[in-house]
């Protein structure tokens, strides 16, 4: 039973532990599969599924078709293949959702931690958050786009420029909730004895934050992240709708959804596909978040 002279055990890689717990979370695996499928689909899909090249006249004759072998998801009001458009749209939407969410989360967590950990920064940073919360979003985005679109576009091209701008715009207007939650957690964590213990060892604030505080704010951040993806994808569609988003010939799920609304009654599948894609993304991110949260918490992992 007891074997004091046990051969020295290598520290098990925490990643492997986390992974094995993650794997045992059915929802998380489901989420990972779905999200993985979506990502793979939009990444390599456009190469695998090359829609027929049709002239406008031909395409128009095929408009608003239901799903068929030729057009697995049907066609839109201009006779464009929906599958092809969904795949292209997914690339942008997924990228926007993930990147903008990441920006918001990173930003929010950073500010939350700084505010919670360093007393002096607390007041100013939280007032900043208040201010951002109170700012009217749409004029803010309009101003940002007006000021920076051309400049960024001339640097890195219109599409990438639009992407950068949108992602940043969404990111920096949605970090506040995260930062508040994180700050609250940090304030209590900071007084925990293990944090004091770390201080007594002389651990630098940076490492205290990274090792002791950050892992413990993961779970609220995960919730925020889940919401963030959905929010970002939808905000992107609103931006496109206001003409602030991508060039109009770049489909995104949000835009397809919005466009499809007009046809919802006649051709419901037009909204079903993008709606489904967005929901699936959000759902899978949520489940992954759940799984990750459990996997990162050794107390739960033990079960």
């Amino acid at each position: 039973m007891t074997d004091a002279s046990a051969a020295r055990s290598k520290p098990a890689s925490p990643l492997r532990d986390i992974w094995s717990q993650f794997r045992s979370h059915k929802g998380a695996v489901f989420g990972l599969c779905v999200l993985g499928f979506l990502i793979v689909a939009v990444l390599i899909g456009p190469w695998l599924w090359v829609p027929e090249k049709l002239t406008v006249a031909q395409a128009i004759k095929l408009k608003n078709q239901g799903p068929s072998f030729r057009f697995p998801l049907g066609t839109d009001q201009l006779g464009r293949d929906m599958l092809g458009r969904m795949l292209l749209a997914g690339r942008i939407s997924l990228a926007v959702g993930m990147v903008a969410m990441t920006i918001a989360i990173v930003f929010g967590t950073l500010i939350g931690i700084l505010a919670g950990y360093f007393r002096r920064l607390d007041g100013p940073l939280m007032r900043l958050a208040d201010m951002f919360l109170a700012l009217p979003l749409i004029p803010l985005l309009l101003v940002m786009v007006m000021l920076f679109r051309d400049r960024i576009a001339s640097l890195i091209g219109p599409e990438l420029g639009a992407f950068t701008l949108i992602v940043c715009a969404i990111g920096i207007t949605s970090w506040m909730a995260t930062s508040r939650i994180v700050r609250g957690e940090v304030l209590t964590l900071k007084e925990r004895e293990y944090v004091i213990a770390a201080r007594s060892i002389g651990v630098r604030p940076k490492r205290i934050i990274l090792r002791h505080i950050l892992p413990n704010v993961v779970s609220p951040v995960m919730v925020a992240a889940t919401l963030g993806v959905a929010d970002a994808i939808i905000t992107e569609s609103v931006l496109s709708f206001l003409g602030l988003g991508f060039p109009p010939d770049f489909p995104t799920w949000g835009r397809l959804l919005y466009d499809g609304l007009q046809y919802m009654q006649v051709y419901p599948e037009r909204v079903v596909w993008p709606g489904l894609a967005i929901s699936l993304t959000v759902l899978s991110v949520n489940y992954i978040g759940d799984g990750l949260r459990d996997a990162l918490d050794p107390r739960i992992r033990g079960r």
């Binding site: 039973m1 007891t2 004091a4 717990q21 992992r301 033990g302 079960r303």
Partner: protein, 334 residues
């Protein structure tokens, strides 16, 4: 203590396991003991020896999953608590069996007043209305020695010191005049002057109310002061059980013997070094087939590897009532 009185609590062959990622943890293995009316049973044993798990298993307080009570019988009067189902168990908890936990800081609900937390079981089990319950709660607070009880009912737990909170816990446990009071290290988190107050209180209450008490502790000093009988646990098993004086005078199990030697005394000779029990507590990942203490035991021999010793009586009193020990070795020779 009338030896022949029927036990209020009779536990037989209790087995509890935890299902964990690393396999099952057999935290409690075939634990049997009985508790007679008015008796104070002290339970000592190493940290992790299964004291808390045993007691919580009795009245279904372990979260399931991961815990699972595998086998056994817990007779409270003539009912088997493991069989009566969750509803009936609720009627037992708090009413027939009171529980006091170790950490008074976190064991009280921070958002309810002390009074309402004491009144809750009164209204639940005794069918009292608010006014009656409040009256009784005031009495209880006074009983556990909190002055100005009437006013203190309205206070919140954070406004009480640790000792006072533990008194509140005791008041809650005593509220419905339980037959059995289980105190799981009730004074460990407190310091000595307060511990002394609490111990005096419990002694006092026991005299007044006459219930049976199970008192879990690390502190053999505390046991010596209050217990009638002592049960020593090791590795999820009961290794020795005896009336308190006999145990201190004539410990039979090597673990008990070692334990008694490790304690520094306040008044006696001050040795240069404390006696220690070498080695490590066992990892209980499988059903034990050998003696759990064998690795640390000075007297271990071949049989200890092969067979998990059964409890046997040291004298002619039956196992569980007199002095018994679970060991293949005996001081008189095998």
């Amino acid at each position: 203590m009338p030896d022949g009185a029927l036990p209020v609590l009779d536990v037989r062959g209790l087995k509890t396991v935890f299902r964990t990622r690393g396999g099952e943890v057999h935290a409690v293995n075939s634990v049997s003991f009985m508790l007679r009316p008015g008796e104070l049973l002290g339970v000592v044993g190493e940290s992790g020896s299964g004291k808390s798990v045993t007691m919580m298993s009795l009245i279904g307080l372990l979260p399931s999953p991961p815990a699972e009570v595998r086998a056994g019988q817990v007779m409270l009067g003539d009912r088997d608590l493991l069989k009566i189902g969750p509803r009936a168990l609720q009627d037992v908890r708090g009413a027939k069996v009171g529980f006091v936990f170790q950490d008074p800081m976190t064991s009280l609900n921070p958002v309810f007043t002390v009074g309402s937390q004491i009144m809750e079981p009164l209204m639940r089990h005794m069918g009292m209305n608010r006014a009656e319950a409040r009256k009784r709660a005031t009495e209880l607070l006074a009983l556990v020695g909190i002055p100005d009880a009437q006013k203190r009912l309205k206070a919140y737990p954070h406004q009480f010191s640790g000792g006072m909170r533990q008194r509140v816990m005791i008041a809650i446990a005593l509220a419905c005049d339980p037959d059995v009071l289980i105190a799981d290290e009730p004074t460990t988190a407190l310091d000595v002057t307060i511990q002394a107050q609490i111990i005096e209180l419990v002694k006092d209450l026991r005299q007044k109310l006459g219930m049976a008490i199970i008192w879990i502790t690390h502190d053999l000093g505390v046991i010596a002061g209050i217990a009638d009988r002592v049960m020593v646990m090791y590795g999820g098993q009961v290794v020795e059980q005896a009336p308190v004086a006999e145990l201190f005078a004539d410990p039979r199990h090597p673990y008990t013997r070692a334990l008694l030697k490790t304690i520094p005394s306040l008044t006696g000779e001050r040795g240069a070094r404390l006696q220690v029990i070498e080695g490590q507590p066992p990892i209980m990942t499988a059903e034990p087939v050998a003696c759990p203490f064998r690795a640390r035991c000075a007297h271990a021999f071949a049989r200890c590897e092969a067979e998990n010793p059964q409890r046997r009586a040291v004298d002619d009193r039956p196992v569980g009532l007199g002095h018994d020990v679970a060991c293949h070795w005996s001081p008189e020779g095998v």
